[in-house]
């Protein structure tokens, strides 16, 4: 197909040739993407090369080259702390979410009434806004009248009356709990889909061979789920790296900076301290981390679906 557009008059939509029409069809979408994603991406990069306090001036400040990046990687204990928090949160939330999700998938993949209804109910936490999830858990974990903290208090006597959001370690635990509660159902549905598409014969053969259910799961089922699991891990890493809404509404980074994730740090820098240039630079550092995982993710999905 010749890629050159012939110069021709506009002849009306109905008469337009496919060679021209196809560009008109994608034009609005490209406009949206260019305006709301590409433009911010490029100008954000530009901002990151400047010192710019939005509170002082609405115009871009002086050019500082890579200055912001240099400060960020060499001389910012707060950022370092956020990196550490993000790392801990990401590792724990990925592991917990996916294990819980896998457990739920195994438990709820049947077609009984109870299972089907449970699946429908479990979608609600995922369909709830992350902001509301954070608020709700803030309430549920309240030491005096929170339903959940009462439940935990009854189960683990040591935590009776504990003030979850006032203790650095417990606050991180709360953040992870809240995230697992929110996102495990999504991955559960993903795993249930994958389980359903396993060839039934492999399982039956192992059953006939007399494998126990535990062995069956770990030796037959799990290995076959590897591709899906890989994708789930990558997606969850990406989701965890950019977690923000719940942080704002659950802990707001506290107590102190013990739950201040990178995204939250950037948000605070930009919209609390109005240090836009520095915020943009740190945002790019975060984006670089995510890009690594996103690249692997794309590698995986294009491999599985040769286009």
């Amino acid at each position: 197909m010749p890629g050159i557009l012939p110069a021709r008059r506009f002849e009306g939509w109905g008469r337009m040739h496919d060679r021209v029409l196809k560009y008109w069809l994608i034009a609005p979408a490209l406009l949206v993407i260019a305006g709301t994603l590409l433009y911010p991406l490029v100008s954000g990069l530009w901002y990151s090369l400047h010192e710019w306090k939005l509170s002082d001036s609405p115009a871009l400040g002086p050019f500082v080259g890579l200055g912001n990046y240099v400060v960020a990687v060499s001389d910012d204990p707060d950022l370092l702390n956020s990196g550490r928090v993000t790392l801990i949160f990401t590792v724990l939330s990925v592991v917990c979410t996916l294990s819980v999700a896998m457990g739920l998938a195994v438990l709820l993949s049947g077609n009984g009434r109870l299972e089907v209804n449970a699946r429908t109910l479990l979608v609600i936490p995922f369909a709830m806004s992350p902001a509301l999830v954070g608020v709700s858990w803030r309430f549920l974990l309240n030491p005096e009248f929170g339903g959940f903290s009462a439940l935990i208090g009854a189960l683990v006597p040591g935590l009776k009356g504990a003030s979850f959001l006032a203790d650095p370690t417990l606050a991180m635990a709360a953040l992870i709990l809240c995230d697992v509660w929110h996102s495990a159902p999504y991955f559960m549905l993903m795993f249930i889909g994958a389980l359903a598409s396993l060839p039934q014969e492999t399982v039956e053969a192992a059953q006939v061979d007399g494998a126990s259910r535990i062995r069956l799961f770990f030796e037959i089922v799990l290995p076959q789920l590897k591709p899906v699991l890989a994708i789930a891990v990558l997606l969850k890493i990406i989701f965890s790296l950019k977690v923000l809404d719940q942080v704002i509404t659950l802990t707001n980074g506290g107590p102190g900076t013990s739950t201040e994730t990178l995204a939250h740090f950037i948000y605070q820098t930009a919209f609390r301290w109005y240090d836009v240039g520095y915020a943009a630079a740190t945002a790019y550092l975060l984006a670089a981390c995510m890009a690594v995982f996103a690249a692997i993710y794309f590698q995986l999905i294009t491999e599985r679906r040769p286009a």
Binding site: G3, M16, L21, K22, L25, I26, P28, A29, V32, I33, T36, L37, Y39, S43, G44, Y47, L54, V106, L107, S109, G110, N111, L114, A118, R119, T120, L121, V123, I124, P125, F126, A127, S129, A131, L132, F139, L140, F145, L189, M190, I192, G193, A196, L198, A206, Q207, R213, I231, L244, I248, A263, Y267, A279, A280, A283, A287, Y297, F298, I301, T302
Partner: protein, 299 residues
């Protein structure tokens, strides 16, 4: 679709290969105990995952003094909702803003996304499928990067604290994801029908409208549910871009944090309004939104 799925029996329920068991009674009762344990576990799972939702909804209907007790039995009241609708919480106008922003996002995004999805599905572009993959790749840009320049741009355009700004910001993720979802559906529709329509005398656009769109309705509906859920739940862009007039339900939640501490009953009332549509749509949310997301990310 997850409804029809079932895990091979051995792991879920238990029809094991029947073989002559020497001690039949005991094995049967063992199985019964296992079944009961499973049921109990499922109930516990439901309690953990759905209990909090119920708790929030109950709290919304409690008298303030019951909120601060753990009681489950109480006289329901609409007082909290009434308070929430009044100053300074303005639940009414927040809800209206949410509805307008959500509807606006859907109405603007879907036609744009459908047109692009069709083009990506049917035509070849120089550069191959880098285009449609690129569209998806934009979704891995962290929102904190996007929001800074958007904030600056909206500020200089005088669009801060307007619903239009929120709609535009929402389109940044709704349009690309919808393109990807709808394209999957259109890919599965053979080209014969629209070719037949063109030979029958329809222009390409008319063929799209008469033939492709009606057949892509399930895909468009999936994208619509997705757009609804994510726009309705959007918090961060709205938090940064709104002050007073355009504040949505999600951001309104923050308003219930007063100097006197958190007004839980108000937050719960707002939470109720936020969750209600999800409950009403939960069947579709499961079938279309989650299924769409899952297939979009795994396939």
């Amino acid at each position: 679709m997850t409804e029809g799925s079932s895990l091979p029996g051995a792991i879920a329920a238990a029809p094991r290969p029947t073989r002559a068991e020497p001690v039949r009674l005991s094995s049967r009762s063992r199985r019964r105990i296992a079944g009961a344990a499973r049921t109990l576990t499922i109930l516990l799972v439901i309690l953990v995952f759905f209990g909090p939702v119920v708790w929030i909804m109950l709290t919304a209907l409690k008298q303030p003094r019951d909120v601060y007790s753990l009681s489950v039995i109480f006289t329901p009241t609409l007082d909290n909702l009434r308070t929430a609708f009044a100053s300074p919480y303005f639940l009414g106008s927040r809800t209206l803003n949410s509805i307008i922003v959500t509807t606006g996002t859907i109405v603007l995004s879907l036609p744009i996304a459908t047109a692009a999805a069709y083009a990506f599905s049917r035509f070849r572009f120089p550069g191959g499928n880098a285009w449609s993959l690129g569209v998806l790749a934009t979704q891995f840009i962290p929102p904190v990067i996007i929001i800074i320049p958007l904030f600056v741009a909206f500020r200089s355009a005088g669009l801060l604290d307007t619903r239009l700004a929120l709609i535009i910001a929402n389109m940044s993720f709704v349009v690309p994801y919808s393109i990807w979802m709808i394209k999957g559906f259109i890919d599965a529709i053979p080209a014969d029908m629209e070719e037949a329509a063109q030979i029958d005398g329809a222009s390409r656009l008319r063929a799209i409208w008469d033939v492709v769109v009606p057949m892509a309705i399930p895909g468009i509906a999936t994208a619509a549910i997705f757009a609804f859920v994510v726009s309705w739940n959007e918090f961060f862009y709205a938090l940064v871009l709104s002050r007073q007039d355009a504040v949505t339900l999600q951001v309104g939640l923050m308003g219930a944090r007063t100097e006197r501490g958190d007004a839980w009953e108000i937050m719960a009332a707002m939470g109720l309004v936020i969750i209600l549509p999800m409950l009403v749509l939960s069947r579709y949310v499961q079938r279309y939104f989650v299924a769409g997301l899952v297939s979009g990310s795994v396939r």
